[in-house]
């Protein structure tokens, strides 16, 4: 219930955050909405010596139409993503997925950047980021760099973002089609998905899976089938191909494989 002690360093700007990260290195963790970090700290599964609070860096919270892409500041809250008219029009999959994260209280605090940087394969937004073929902008001591969503999630709870870097922006291509869907299978409405999927059609279709591996993953074989015009049954049949879903008390590997297929089919058909 009670986090371990830490030094608290609020940052007023991106630059200040980067300079604090440079100073404290791997002793420091970034705090945004706190809904990935604080639960870990309260169970003392994370015990950073320094917490750099970027929650007040208002200029990293925005949703802007940039022509071909929508730019989302990393500190934009799930609630804002959920309710954004711009996203509902241009990347409806993302807005819809955000509405499934946690519960209303969580969505009022949690940020898209915080969720993505947590790198949890059981989270909803990473699947949508994969499916929408987003690009992520990471700021560091030597400036900004861009990483594709495919390269962003590197290992269990680990991402491309280094100790001295900050995710600042997510760029998502606009999607003009009608074929998109997010399906989340869970026991209680507030639970993480046992399995979930985010699907977006178009020329370069994406199928991002929730809780089907040790990182957020795409169902690449299913995507290929979708790209080549296969039926939704055929696409769905490949939803678990090449993936190794976990076994835990909420579902074993076989059941998860089965769910993956059903959910992808439903996302395509509905």
């Amino acid at each position: 219930m009670i986090p371990a002690k830490f030094d608290y360093k609020p940052a007023e700007s991106k630059e200040e955050a980067l300079s604090l990260l440079a100073e404290y290195g791997d002793d420091a963790k970034l705090l945004a909405g706190g809904h990935s970090l604080l639960p870990l700290m309260k169970l003392r599964l994370a015990t950073p010596e320094v917490v750099v609070d970027i929650g007040s860096v208002d200029d990293l919270s925005y949703i802007t139409d940039k022509g071909d892409v929508i730019a989302i500041g990393a500190l934009t809250k799930h609630r804002q993503v959920e309710q954004s008219d711009i996203l509902k029009e241009h990347v409806p999959l993302l807005a819809h997925t955000a509405s499934h994260v946690g519960d209303p209280q969580v969505r009022n605090r949690g940020t898209i950047g915080g969720s993505l940087c947590h790198g949890d394969p059981a989270s909803d937004l990473p699947a949508a980021i994969l499916a929408t073929r987003a690009t992520l902008v990471i700021s560091g001591p030597s400036g900004d760099r861009t990483v594709t969503s495919d390269d962003f999630f590197t290992d269990f709870w680990e991402t491309e973002v280094n100790e001295d870097e900050l995710l600042t922006e997510i760029l998502i291509p606009k999607y003009t089609g009608e074929k998109w869907g997010f399906e989340k299978f869970n026991r209680r409405a507030q639970d993480w998905a046992i399995v979930g999927c985010a699907v977006q059609g178009g020329d370069n279709p994406g199928i991002g899976m929730v809780n089907m591996g040790s990182t957020p993953v795409r169902a690449a074989e299913a995507e290929n089938a979708l790209r080549s015009g296969s039926s939704s049954e055929e696409v769905a049949g490949l939803a678990d191909s090449g993936l190794t879903p976990p076994t835990d008390i909420h579902g074993n590997e076989s059941y998860r494989r089965h769910l993956a297929k059903i959910l992808v089919q439903r996302a395509l058909d509905n």
Partner: protein
């Protein structure tokens, strides 16, 4: 107009709605220190060493103690099997308290516990009854030679009846381990000063706790005060003698400062005692018409790491109630209590009766499967008829007082469209767009209103009565003091309603006090659905006694006969001559004035205390039905409707009664579909937080359709049976019968609780039982 039976809104609410409730953690006397436990991370281990050096040096820590430092007696429990207050040489379950830290703040206490180093020698753990009873199983108590601490064999297994019967069926059932998990965890605050000890506790029985604490500490009861302020839910889980209630007073005395303990949820998940965890082997013999000829039950009760007295009693209640609402001429019962390296088991809403109802109601459906008979028809073949009461059963404990079981089923069928549902069920099977539909019934009966003399003494209580004192104030308002100890039931409201009815004093001029051993002389506490059935009866009888005295005073002043005095709406008046009247205020004032009183009456007569007894338990009953939809592709089961007909006898407040049923039903649904407290093979809990232990939320539960019938309790003049546990007793079999009903056409006859989507999916794949 009668206030008993009216939907009166609660007196309790204004404080609770404005944040003015007083729960234990809200109370903070000057100088309060904070206590935290170091708890075992091993399921079964020897303790080789406990190093507290670093903890002692932690900023804010005032002290760290182990069993060796404190030399405490064992906690009150089963003789020979008592649990130590702090683990001594060995730990027997994950979460067992090993050491205790006291600090200036909660935060420092948490830091301190992290720094205590416990050196364990891991032993093999047993986490199931099968493992614990296997040959060469690791033993929790070497000296016992076995993990089975009690075994009660059957007197007669009726094998001859089974041999001769047209049909027999053997069923193995598991009543899954659950934790009550009230939203407020255990909490206590001990302040042991020169004038004695005060303990605030989130507990269901203040006097019971006071009696135990004072005996355990070796101090006289007059110097020990227990206060149960607002209590955030109990469900039977807040009546156990866990270490905090005993250790906090000891440390408060040592430190000469108040010591407060607010349990974290993670601690609560393993250290508040669990419920259910019972396995049953059930044999039934029946004829072609569906009549049951014999029932044989062997219940194996998982006790967890320490045998709790209440836990020992669970299979006693289960086997006593195994015959349910039915005429069963030959019943054979047997049980055993088995220790495992898991959290100890005690009472959880229903306490032994949900287990009984589940077994008999699943058995009834098994008969329906075997004979291809409608489950409601099977039940009709076997109901105890309405005119059979009092109805003795195979168990001395259970002499049913009243009931109309067939009537409840009829009323249930009235409020649902059974025929329509059956048609829909058939149509849905072949429609890929539609889910599988299941309809499940539960005709249930339970034993409540604890209880007749001797019944609660068997569970370690002082008596089986409940105390009610009513005192009329000089201005005619009334205060009720009771040993009943509510934690959400609305007793302050229902008792005031009853008193208002029988005193003729306005509801708004009646207060109810509870939860303080300093102001309530004696009490037993709240468990076993007894507040209204026992305490409420006491309120009525105390009211009538006072009215008798009031009438004497009024008669004296009005120069009439006491028999001619009537009481209503705050006035006492002469029958037929309403102008000859006195207000309650006037009569109450006179009651204190010698010169105003009849010769044979002393001042102070409008004050009476009753230790209300009841001659028998009460037997609430009812009929529930569940309509469930199962997603054919995922196996996900969602309840579409719950139909609930309750018979609790007289209802004091229909709003509150309905609330109690809803809450019990929700917990019953949760047990059937969502909740199971589980362990891995090393005894590590796998559902130790609210992330993994799936208590349903609002979107996960249906709305409830209620009906009611009423067969009054003949054993109290109110006619009330109690209703607090009914929902959790009657619901799980209704749900599970519905789940199996939904997949019956595939040849399935059983699915264990909780019926998770994966389990159901596996059944749909052809892995049927």
């Amino acid at each position: 107009m009668s206030i008993v039976g009216a939907k009166v809104i609660r007196k309790e609410d204004p404080n609770l709605l404005t944040g003015r409730g007083q729960f234990v953690d809200d109370i903070q006397p000057v100088g309060t220190t904070h206590m935290a436990f170091v708890r075992s991370t091993e399921a079964h281990a020897l303790i080789r060493n406990i190093d507290v050096t670093a903890a002692l040096e932690c900023e804010g820590v005032v002290g760290v103690w182990t069993a060796a430092d404190l030399n405490l007696p064992a906690l009150p429990g089963v003789p020979g099997l008592e649990r130590p207050a702090l683990a001594t040489d060995k730990v027997r379950f994950v979460g067992e308290a090993i050491a205790v830290v006291v600090a200036e703040s909660k935060y420092a206490a948490a830091d301190g516990t992290e720094l205590v180093i416990v050196d364990y020698e891991t032993l093999a753990a047993v986490t199931s009854i099968d493992e614990a009873t296997a040959d060469n199983a690791p033993l929790l108590y070497e000296e016992l030679g076995s993990n089975t601490v009690a075994e009660v064999p059957t007197a007669d297994d009726h094998q001859a009846i089974f041999d001769a019967a047209p049909h027999t069926e053997k069923i193995k059932l598991v009543n899954n381990r659950c934790t009550a998990a009230p939203i407020e965890t255990n909490a206590c605050l001990a302040d042991y000063g020169p004038a004695g000890l005060t303990v605030w506790a989130s507990f269901q029985a203040p006097h019971h706790l006071r009696n135990r604490i004072s005996a355990w500490l070796g101090i006289p009861q007059d110097q020990c005060r227990v206060i149960t302020p607002d209590v955030g839910g109990g469900f039977g889980q807040k009546i156990n003698f866990t270490p905090e209630f005993f250790v906090a007073p000891v440390l408060s005395k040592i430190l000469n400062r108040p010591v407060k303990y607010s349990q974290t949820r993670s601690e609560a998940m393993t250290s508040m005692y669990h419920g259910r965890a019972q396995e049953q082997e059930v044999d039934i013999a029946f004829d072609d018409s569906g009549k049951i000829l014999a029932l044989r039950v062997f219940a194996s009760q998982d006790m967890g790491g320490y045998a709790d007295g209440t836990g020992m009693g669970m299979p006693v209640l289960t086997t006593a109630m195994s015959a349910g609402c039915y005429v069963i001429p030959n019943v054979s019962i047997a049980w055993r209590n088995v220790l495992t390296n898991t959290t100890p088991i005690a009472a959880y809403r229903g306490a032994g009766r949900p287990e009984a109802t589940y077994l008999i109601e699943r058995a009834m459906d098994h008969i329906s499967y075997k004979l291809d008979m409608d489950p409601t028809e099977v039940r009709r073949q076997n109901y105890i008829p309405e005119d059979s009461f009092p109805y003795p059963t195979h168990s001395e404990l259970a002499v049913y007082d009243s009931g109309n079981f067939e009537g409840a089923l009829d009323e249930l069928l009235n409020i649902m469209d059974y025929e329509g549902l059956k048609e829909e069920q058939i149509a849905n099977r072949t429609n890929p767009e539609k889910p599988l539909l299941g309809i499940g019934f539960s005709s249930w009966l339970e034993i409540a209103g604890f209880g007749p003399p001797g019944s609660l003494e068997g569970f370690g209580h002082l008596g089986s009565w409940e105390s009610v004192q009513i005192r009329i104030q000089p201005d005619g308002s009334a205060i009720i003091y009771t040993g009943a100890s509510p934690h959400g039931q609305g007793t302050v409201t229902t008792f005031a309603q009853i008193a208002s009815e029988y005193l003729g004093i306005d509801f708004d001029k009646i207060s109810v006090r509870h939860g303080d051993t300093a102001t309530i002389p004696q009490g037993i506490g709240t468990m076993g659905s007894r507040q209204v059935a026992v305490g409420g009866e006491g309120v009525k009888n105390a009211s009538l006694k006072i009215v008798e005295n009031a009438k004497s005073i009024a008669a004296h002043k009005l120069e009439a006969n006491p028999e001619d005095i009537e009481v209503t709406d705050g006035n006492l008046f002469v029958k037929g001559t309403p102008s000859k009247s006195l207000t309650w205020a006037e009569v109450a004032t006179f009651s204190f004035q010698r010169l105003e009183l009849p010769e044979d009456m002393d001042p102070g007569s409008l004050d009476t205390t009753i230790l209300q007894e009841v001659p028998n338990f009460s037997f609430p009953s009812g009929a529930y039905a569940c309509v469930i939809e199962i997603d054919k592709q995922t196996g996900d089961a969602r309840i579409r409707d719950m139909y609930l007909v309750d018979d609790c006898g007289t209802v004091i407040n229909p709003l509150l009664a309905e609330g109690q049923v809803h809450g019990g039903v929700a917990q019953g649904i949760a047990q059937a579909l969502y909740e199971e407290f589980s362990y891995d093979e090393n005894g590590q809990p796998t559902t130790a937080t609210f992330i993994d232990y799936l208590m349903p939320g609002a979107p996960d539960l249906p709305s409830y359709k209620s009906g009611r019938i009423n067969t009054p309790n003949p054993n109290n003049s109110l006619g009330a049976k109690g209703i607090g546990e009914s929902g959790s007793v009657g619901t799980p079999p209704a749900v599970m019968n519905a789940v199996v009903d939904a997949v019956r056409h595939l040849g399935v006859t059983h699915i264990d609780m909780p019926a998770t989507p994966q389990k159901i999916w596996e059944v749909l794949q052809g892995g049927s039982k």
